[in-house]
């Protein structure tokens, strides 16, 4: 069990599964008709394993991460300070001066008999980005699953309904009447758009709307898409509508939005940390960021240069 969790939560394993999905997908697009693999149980199983892996990855990491961010280690060893990618000894600058010139940082301080420690943090929310993204993907997949389970169970799903002009179609508790069908043209005679004017008749409710190629009609969980049209021998127009069940679709959009937010947080919000350790006359400063740090270190360098030159002036 422990081994299984270790395997499922490891990044190497997740990357291997993604690699497999990529391979299968490439093969699936190479052959005409190869897209049957995307509906096959073992392809779905691969996606399932990836979902479980993402879920477990976040579940096992989010609690330690939360704890680490809520109660960070403020008191750190000299060895730790020196091991940080940015580490300097400040000359003539006190901890308080640095603290006052750091803008927008959450600050914590602790004191021992001889030493004062300070930890300044910014962008902690960025650390949750990957987990938010994982969660979003799971919601999205849930939507897909709901669509597969309930959408396909709906007897009207994926049906094509042909309605002659003036007639109506009885669906799940309401009727859809085709009032009018028209085409609009460009100057050169090409079709600009197709418009079907339909009315929903549901008890006392009578609601007329236009259905176009990019503008379907959704009513009571069913969506009607313009699918085709024709003219009968008697000169009467008919329109074919494709009916789709909208089950789970909102989950897909919400999941996609959460995923996007998670991705942006993890890519654009670096978690910056600055430690300062002051004992007697010596002040040490160390910093680390979980993203590319050049600009962050330049920023600290700027603060430090300003404070040190001021200290230097004061001494003269």
């Amino acid at each position: 069990m422990n081994f299984a969790i270790k395997l499922l939560t490891s990044t190497r394993f997740a990357v291997a599964v993604i690699g497999l999905i990529i391979l299968v997908s490439v093969v699936g697009t190479l052959y005409p008709g190869g897209d049957v693999v995307f509906g096959s149980p073992w392809f779905l199983a691969l996606i399932g394993v990836l979902a479980v892996s993402a879920a477990l990855c976040s579940l096992t990491r989010i609690v330690p991460l939360w704890r680490d961010l809520r109660r960070p280690q403020v008191e750190v060893s000299d060895h730790f300070m020196q091991a940080l990618p940015y580490s300097v000894r400040l000359s003539g600058v006190t901890l308080t001066q640095v603290r006052d010139s750091l803008k927008g940082y959450a600050i914590r301080e602790t004191m021992t008999e001889s030493t004062t420690f300070l930890l300044a943090q910014k962008g902690r929310v960025g650390r949750f980005g990957p987990h938010i993204a994982h969660f979003g993907v799971l919601i999205l997949l849930l939507g897909v699953a709901i669509g597969a389970a309930y959408g396909n169970a709906n007897p009207y799903n994926n049906k094509i309904a042909v309605i002659p002009e003036g007639s109506s179609l009885q669906v799940d508790g309401f009727a859809l009447r085709l009032d009018d069908f028209s085409l609009s043209y460009y100057n050169n005679g090409a079709v600009r758009d197709y418009t079907a004017t339909v009315t929903v008749l549901d008890g006392n409710l009578v609601q007329t709307s236009n259905v176009t190629v990019n503008g379907p009609l959704t009513y009571k969980g069913l969506t009607f898409y313009l699918y085709g049209y024709g003219v009968t021998e008697s000169g009467n127009a008919w329109v074919a509508f494709q009916i789709k069940s909208a089950s789970g679709v909102s989950f897909v959009w919400v999941g996609a939005a959460i995923t996007l937010v998670g991705i942006m947080l993890s890519l654009y919000v670096p978690h910056k940390r600055i430690w300062i350790k002051e004992s007697g006359q010596s002040t040490q400063l160390g910093a680390i960021s979980n993203k590319s740090s050049a600009r962050f270190f330049r920023e600290i360098e700027g603060v430090r240069a300003k404070l040190e030159s001021r200290a230097h002036l004061d001494h003269m």
Partner: protein
Amino acid sequence: MDAAALEHLGFEIALGTYLISSVLFVLYFSIKKRRLAEMGFTLALFGFAFQTLALATRWLYAGYPPWISTYEVISFFAWAAVGGYLILNFKSDYKSAGVLILPLAFVLLGFASMQPTNPAPLIPALQSVWIFIHVPIIILSYCAFVIAFAASMLYLFKDKQLSEAGITEGLNRKSDEGSRDTPPSGTPESTGTLANFSLEQLDDLAYKSVAVGFPLLTIGIITGAIWAESAWGSYWSWDPIETWALITWFVFLIYLHAKTQNWSASLAAYIAAFGFLSAICTFLGVGYVLPFLQTYVSVSTGLHGYAGGGAISGTVLFCGILGAVLVLLFATRKKPPNATRAPPARTDAESEPTP
């Protein structure tokens, strides 16, 4: 002169300029005269201006944005790639990347010139507000991936050069302190063309490009799904273009995970290169497949067309060969002992020092 002729002229000048610029960059890499790169860059700027003129003219007289037909999409992609390259050189000096970008732009424009250029009125399925959002976002993401590809390839070139020169201290090689401020002195002659940037800068540039491209691709795929949902009732139907966009997304997902794990920087460079190839497959797939749309009669036609199953195979084959070449390069490279670690400056929870 009428608008179409003006557009054509701008296009032809850009095509010619990109060709000359490509030649200059290739020459620069063989005889290493800095002036050649400067000239190549100036020409790229010149060609870009003319292509901008051509695209703007077309937008004005066709009445819809220039990213619908195969000809338009491919030219627009070339334009965006060169634009990205120029912006990249605005603040830092990555002119050498022109050796990859300009030939790419030239080939794309050459390919576009073989397509029918007459603007056709928008078919109903393409008349959606999403066409203003979905297409340019996707193209911009590919443009970011082009930059990531160029940075990654330069990284691999430079890594190889340094290994051959016997410099093996890893990513922050002591003798490799090239930057735009300090002209390198004492570096081997062979590194001259790549001396303006360090391995670390290239790795960082590739990462930043992916950090721009990946969210854009995500937005592109989502907007595509929304559009598909509203146009033909299914947010996802595994058509070849959708599938390849997802493959590209997955490849860069691996890249980003590799980065958080501090896996070797050259491995990341290969992944980014693969991601770019995958993007090209997706993109040329769209280019090949879109023309089939014009022959559709059903009103709810697929936006990428379903007739493309066969057409995409040629592109896939081409990219497959390129990919295989990369794999071979990777497998046969000489790995210097304990070299090519990711920069220590970027760490994550699992690899930082513990208090």
